[in-house]
């Protein structure tokens, strides 16, 4: 009568896993922004760009809930001693915004942490050869790096990166190293052009009207990007944020409104399960009420 768990997982194609692991490094890369590498054997083979993980900050129940973070990249480190296999890691890039990220910023090499992942639906690659424009606002650039590294093998890739000041512009040289052409704008003009990243997008779309766009950043930016793409009939994938408790579709805390949403027949989609990456047309942009404060954002 009863089912075998291993079979069940195979049947469902489930990849996610809870890692009881340690931190390899945790460094401040720009004021208030940190990069953390976490040992995670086997994680890289499963992870796709745009997916995320739920990070348990301490074994103590403080903070209580796990914190969601995009996967910045996965990679290998040389082993500590010869003959050992290289160390597989997942890297996150985060901004200190509140209690949980503050505690994270004080963690060190060797500290014990837990992570659940890879979670959610990632980006889809789109048409080969077509120009890809990635739009990142502040910490919203995180999921775009792995995406870029996948896309560059088959299409020209441009990154439009916006932030409040130069301190909010991260990892640009790494994108360039992938062969991605990058354009930077800041609100205060302290790096790149002064102004909004959306202006740069409009200009790009004049040159590449059939480009495909991928965006992640604060909700006002995403709305503006969506309007621009919508008017021009340009394909857009967005990565959203929502407050999450479980990350696996069980608590229903993280919903966003789908395109078919009406007051009478509401359509709520779990950001953690149906997203965090959505095709723009599957969402209700008029009324998406992802809490603005909670966007990774330039601010």
């Amino acid at each position: 009568m009863s089912v075998n768990r291993t079979e069940l997982l195979k049947e469902k194609g489930e990849q996610m896993q809870n890692y009881n692991t340690i931190i390899l490094s945790n460094q401040e890369v720009s004021p208030g922004y940190f990069r953390m590498r976490i040992l995670a054997p086997g994680f890289g083979a499963k992870a796709r760009s745009g997916q995320f993980l739920m990070f348990r900050v301490q074994h103590l129940l403080l903070p209580l809930l796990r914190r969601p973070f995009g996967i910045f990249r996965v990679g290998l480190l040389p082993p500590d001693c010869e003959g050992m296999p290289p160390k597989e890691y997942v890297e996150i890039l985060y901004k200190v915004v509140g209690g949980g990220t503050r505690i994270m910023s004080e963690l060190h090499h060797g500290d014990h942490v837990e992570l659940l992942g890879p979670l959610g639906n990632g980006f889809t690659s789109g048409a080969v050869k077509k120009v890809k424009i990635l739009v990142g606002g502040g910490i919203g650039l995180v999921p775009l790096y792995m995406l870029a590294s996948e896309l560059v093998t088959q299409s020209p890739v441009r990154l439009l990166m916006g932030g409040r000041t130069r301190d909010d512009i991260l990892a640009v040289t790494e994108f360039e190293r992938l062969g991605v052409e990058t354009y930077v704008s800041t609100d205060d003009g302290s790096l790149g052009e002064e102004g909004m990243v959306t202006e740069a997008l409009k200009r790009k779309l004049v040159r590449f009207p059939d480009a495909e766009v991928y965006a992640c950043g604060p909700m006002p930016m995403l709305k503006a990007v969506r309007d621009i793409c919508y008017k021009r009939g340009v394909s857009l994938q967005v990565s959203l944020e929502a407050h999450m408790a479980c990350g696996v579709g069980a608590c229903l805390g993280c919903v966003v409104k789908g395109a078919a949403h009406t007051e009478e027949t509401p359509q709520y989609l779990c950001c953690c399960k149906a997203g965090p990456v959505f095709m723009a047309e599957t969402l209700d942009w008029g009324k998406i009420d992802t809490d603005d404060k909670s966007c990774g954002g330039c601010a």
Binding site: R5, E14, N18, L65, H243, C246, V248, A250, L252, V256
Partner: protein, 313 residues
């Protein structure tokens, strides 16, 4: 300490019976924190649990509240999901076949917005053989009667339980809200109205404010407080209810580890539910089960019933 009682090598019997439902151990998820069971299968084997308890279901699909729906508080969380669920039909069609593949008894949590709705859902659930029992959530307002919450008034609680009882042959667990002056009055009312077991507690109503924006952290203004913060209130209420009624009590509220669960068993709960802790650690229930077993071994108990209600006064 563990090794000091090595002599006792037989594994203790952890099985319990609640409302006529036989469980291999006294640990199950709390409704609404474990989806429909499927969400957590990557992390644990449902066959290891005492029972599976589903997200609360209603007659028709329910959309739930606007966002934000959850926020963290000190050692707790507030949720105002708004009882979003797929509705009873989709549940039977899409979720029951999956759940039927396990040996573990399935308990369906449900609610209604009116007396009639409660009755109708009960009648529908009664026909589904894959369901071992139901858990009646009476923490909902009766929209037809000025919105008074069924579970806060003994007469209303009694009425809804009697109605459901009359429509249902399956084991009936009634889940109580802690937002009352005297939980024993409600417990007695639902026992008399025909409940086979009582589950307590649901969430405490709370509120939190985002100081910068001056807005409530939740779109719904208030939400339900769960997690370790509420455990002392839950233990107190389970103690009071277990002293009051003869039917079994399921303890829930803030359980994170085996020690927490043991507090509930000691004050008289026959079984426990783990809620918020599933979010923190998807294998929390397995640790709780293992820890209870280890405790029995350490204390030289061969049956969990030696622990249940063992409070020393």
């Amino acid at each position: 300490m563990t090794t000091s009682k090595m002599a006792n090598l037989k594994r203790p019997n952890l099985s319990v019976e609640v409302a006529g439902i036989k469980m291999r151990n006294p640990v199950m998820p709390a409704s609404g924190t474990f989806g429909y069971g499927e969400e957590y299968t990557p992390f644990l084997d449902l066959n290891q649990l005492g029972a599976v308890v589903t997200k609360g279901l209603s007659l028709r699909p329910k959309a739930g509240n606007a966002m934000p729906r959850i926020t963290e508080t000190v050692s707790g969380m507030l949720n105002a999901i708004g009882l979003q669920n797929v509705g009873i039909d989709a549940f039977i069609r899409d979720k029951v076949p999956f759940l039927s593949r396990f040996e573990t008894p399935v308990i369906v949590n449900f609610f209604g917005n009116s007396l009639e709705e409660y009755g109708e859902v009960a009648a529908r659930l009664n026909d589904i053989s894959a369901i071992a029992g139901v858990e009646l959530n009476i923490s909902c307002p009766n929209v037809k009667q000025g919105g008074i919450v069924f579970g806060t008034d003994p007469a209303a609680a009694s009425e809804v339980v009697s109605l459901v009882r009359s429509r249902l042959q399956k084991p009936l667990i009634v889940k109580l809200t802690p937002n009352v002056t005297d939980i024993t009055v409600i417990a007695r009312a639902v026992e008399e109205a025909g409940a086979d077991a009582i589950c307590c507690i649901n969430t405490l109503t709370g509120m939190s404010i985002d100081v910068r924006s001056r807005k409530p952290s939740l779109a719904n203004k208030t939400g339900g407080l769960s997690g370790p913060a509420i455990r002392p209130v839950a233990v107190r209420m389970v103690y009071q209810v277990a002293q009051t009624v003869k039917i079994p009590v399921i303890g829930v509220g803030g359980i994170v580890n085996a020690m927490d669960a043991l507090e509930f068993l000691i004050v008289g709960a026959t079984a426990v539910q783990v809620g918020t802790a599933n979010f923190i650690d998807p294998t929390a229930m397995i640790s709780v089960i293992d820890g209870i077993e280890q405790f029995c071994i350490d204390e030289g108990m061969d049956d969990i019933h030696q622990l249940i209600g063992s409070l020393q006064l």
